[in-house]
């Protein structure tokens, strides 16, 4: 005699409950799937409202039947614990899954099934989906801007060198590990500068000079972000310390600097760097637009980095200062060996936040006529031969930025784990 109490599922009828519950859930998902992918409604004979909400009703009933605590089946228990704790959570879970099933087909068909990538002109795009031909044709421009095609190898070579040199840290023998921070903080940026100056900019060593106005696309995004990050971090650190010293002049200069740069919009700063700043310079003094932009962004972001680091400094207990002082350490030793390592560790998430914002702010350099990837996109979408493909361009750049930013965020998370020594 089988006696099932559906309202109060228990361990006794585990097997039967599972079979009925899971098949109900699968049925509900299947119904949504069929409707979403093939436009078939298997329950169209029912009144509209019921057929519309049937999957939810079935799914919730199925999930409530299998909501058995301590069933002894690991997967079921974790399912019940995480997404099926009560009817409300079950409904939320189902609705989220339904939405994903519903959204997937149109997105997939736009991006893949109905999309075109063949051909060289706009006319090749005949399908109703995305026209990746546009991205394909403009790809070089999105990556290298207006950099002359026959010299693009120089950009590639420089970046290959930079990436290889960035991985030096992983292969250095233990003996030289202590010089690594010196390498990354001082030597690597200098090498990067030399590479970019001689290889990408050219003008000597038999390489043709390419003016910075022609640089662009993703490579310019990288160059601007890279140097801004490198400069703004130490400057921000100095400002954070400066704001906390007892020396009045240093303190008020730091406060003034931070408040000034935090108070003005980046776009204004960039505009001033390019239009007003040269007016204050001597007649024959020339500073490249790109250099001015990098300096402007660095100063701007340094103010933010400073405040983030100051937050970390304030989070440290006073005892750490007392202990290092009582051991005879002076200001610099105390900060270098005790205070900053701890404070910086605390603010890794905040610093990562600021750096991600910096990378995503780089498109603003269009105001001074430098076109990185978004800038190139704006230009490409107004090209008369390629009107009407803004969407593809933005999707493409969104994916590119997501990859960069997600990698950075992953890296910062790894750093957090690596330096997690306490607790």
């Amino acid at each position: 005699m089988i006696n099932i109490n559906f309202l109060n599922p228990s361990k006794n009828n585990l097997r039967l409950n599972l079979i009925i519950g899971l098949s109900l859930v699968f049925l509900s998902l299947f119904d949504v799937f069929l409707y979403s992918f093939f436009d078939i409604n298997i329950v169209s004979f029912l009144p509209y409202f019921i057929s519309f909400s049937l999957p939810l009703i079935l799914g919730m009933f199925g999930l409530s039947i299998i909501r058995i605590s301590y069933s002894g089946i690991k997967k079921l228990d974790s399912l019940n614990k995480n997404i099926n704790t009560n009817n409300f959570n079950a409904a939320l879970t189902l609705l989220i899954i339904f939405s994903i099933i519903k959204i997937l087909p149109p997105v997939m068909s736009w991006m893949i099934f109905d999309a075109n990538i063949s051909g060289d002109t706009k006319d090749a795009c005949t399908g109703s989906g995305a026209c990746w031909t546009y991205i394909k044709i403009w790809f070089k421009r999105f990556m290298y801007g207006m950099y002359p095609n026959e010299h693009i190898w120089r950009v590639n070579l420089a970046f290959i060198f930079l990436v290889v040199l960035a991985f030096v840290g992983f292969i250095t023998p233990q003996k030289y590990k202590k010089y690594l921070s010196l390498y990354y903080i001082i030597i690597y940026p200098i090498i990067a500068y030399i590479l970019i100056y001689y290889l990408i900019s050219g003008g000597s060593l038999g390489l043709e000079w390419v003016e910075t106005g022609a640089w662009g696309g993703l490579s310019l995004t990288f160059i601007v972000s890279f140097f801004s990050l490198i400069f703004c971090f130490p400057l921000g650190m100095a400002l954070a310390l400066g704001r906390r010293t007892d020396l009045p002049i240093i303190k008020y200069v730091s406060v003034g600097f931070i408040e000034f740069w935090r108070g003005v919009p980046l776009i204004t700063v960039l505009f001033m760097s390019s239009v007003m700043f040269p007016m204050f310079l001597p007649q024959d003094f020339f500073m490249d637009k790109l250099v001015r932009v990098i300096i402007a962004i660095s100063l701007f972001e340094a103010a933010y980095v400073a405040e983030v680091i100051r937050g970390g400094l304030q989070a440290l207990p006073r005892g750490q200062y007392d202990a290092s002082k009582s051991l005879g350490m002076g200001y610099w030793k105390m900060h270098i060996f005790v205070i900053l390592p701890q404070a910086l560790k605390l603010v890794i998430p905040g610093i990562a936040n600021t750096f991600l914002a910096l990378v995503k702010d780089t498109p603003l350099i269009f105001v001074v006529g430098l076109l990185e990837i978004i800038g190139m996109l704006q230009m490409a979408k107004t090209n008369p031969k390629w009107l009407g493909f803004a969407m593809e361009g933005y999707v493409f750049s969104a994916i590119v930025f997501f990859i960069i930013c997600y990698a950075m965020s992953k890296y910062s998370y790894n750093l957090e784990l690596k330096y997690k020594t306490d607790r």
Binding site: G319, Q320, D322, F337, T421, D422, R423
Partner: protein, 244 residues
């Protein structure tokens, strides 16, 4: 009679309008052990924090090992290197291993070669019986072990004077003993010590002199036996009756 290693003369200190130290006079001779007790807020912590200038005094003079404490940073750092301090909250550096906690200051302040510093650190850690924990981080140790590490860390600077600021107040009762044992051993080895504590058993065992402070003043200062046997002031009697 040996020269005093610490001379405190008419020291006054204010926090804002509030006077925490009132005309403090104290002489400490080498190898002398002094216990400072008193109710909370009586200024005893402030007094020993003044000795290595974690706090500044506003009036009077403090001379440590022949050097007067003044605004001169070089002097202060030199004195701090000679005066070890142990805190109530241990204040170990959580981002460094136990061994690195002990070697950091000898290497960077005293310019000791790394190998020698590590040998010294291991010796001190073994002395307080946590040599086997050297590679761990402070967060992985119990309170008593952390405090013993803090003592070892201070000793690695080979100080002439050790200051203890309520070293056992933040510990569980069962861990107090292991820390006190380490301090007793240190006292027997002949270290000059000033200890702020409420552990009267410890005071009876090692102290040469006990000082009772209240409201920023030294109320009573006597040899240990006299202090416990026949306290002079009523305030001291009241305090002792409550604590013993």
């Amino acid at each position: 009679m040996p020269e005093s290693i610490i001379q405190i003369k008419n020291v006054n200190k204010w926090f804002g309008d509030f006077q925490v130290l009132k005309d403090i006079n104290l002489d400490v001779k080498p190898k002398e052990k002094i216990v400072v007790c008193g109710p909370s807020g009586s200024g005893k912590s402030t007094l020993i924090r003044c000795i290595n200038r974690l706090e500044e005094h506003q009036k009077g003079s403090i001379v440590v090992d022949g050097t007067e404490l003044s605004e001169d940073t070089k002097n202060i750092e030199a004195i701090r290197a000679e005066v070890g301090m142990v805190f109530q909250q241990f204040n170990l550096f959580p981002h460094l291993s136990i061994l690195d906690n002990c070697t950091l200051a000898p290497i960077w302040v005293k310019k000791m070669p790394k190998q020698k510093a590590e040998e010294l650190a291991m010796k001190q850690l073994n002395q307080v019986q946590i040599g086997d924990q050297a590679q761990k981080f402070p967060g992985q140790l119990s309170g008593g072990q952390q405090q013993r590490c803090a003592i070892a860390r201070a000793l690695c600077m080979e100080p002439k004077i050790m200051l203890f600021d309520e070293p056992t107040s933040a510990l569980d009762p069962e861990m107090i003993k292991e820390v006190l044992d380490a301090m007793v051993n240190l006292a027997k080895a002949g270290m000059t010590m000033i200890v702020v504590t409420h552990e009267m058993g410890f005071a009876k065992e090692v102290a040469d002199e006990v000082i009772f402070m209240d409201e920023g003043m030294i109320v009573e200062k006597a040899e240990t036996k006299d202090f416990f046997a026949n306290p002079k002031s009523d305030r001291t009697k009241l305090f002792l009756s409550q604590i013993l």
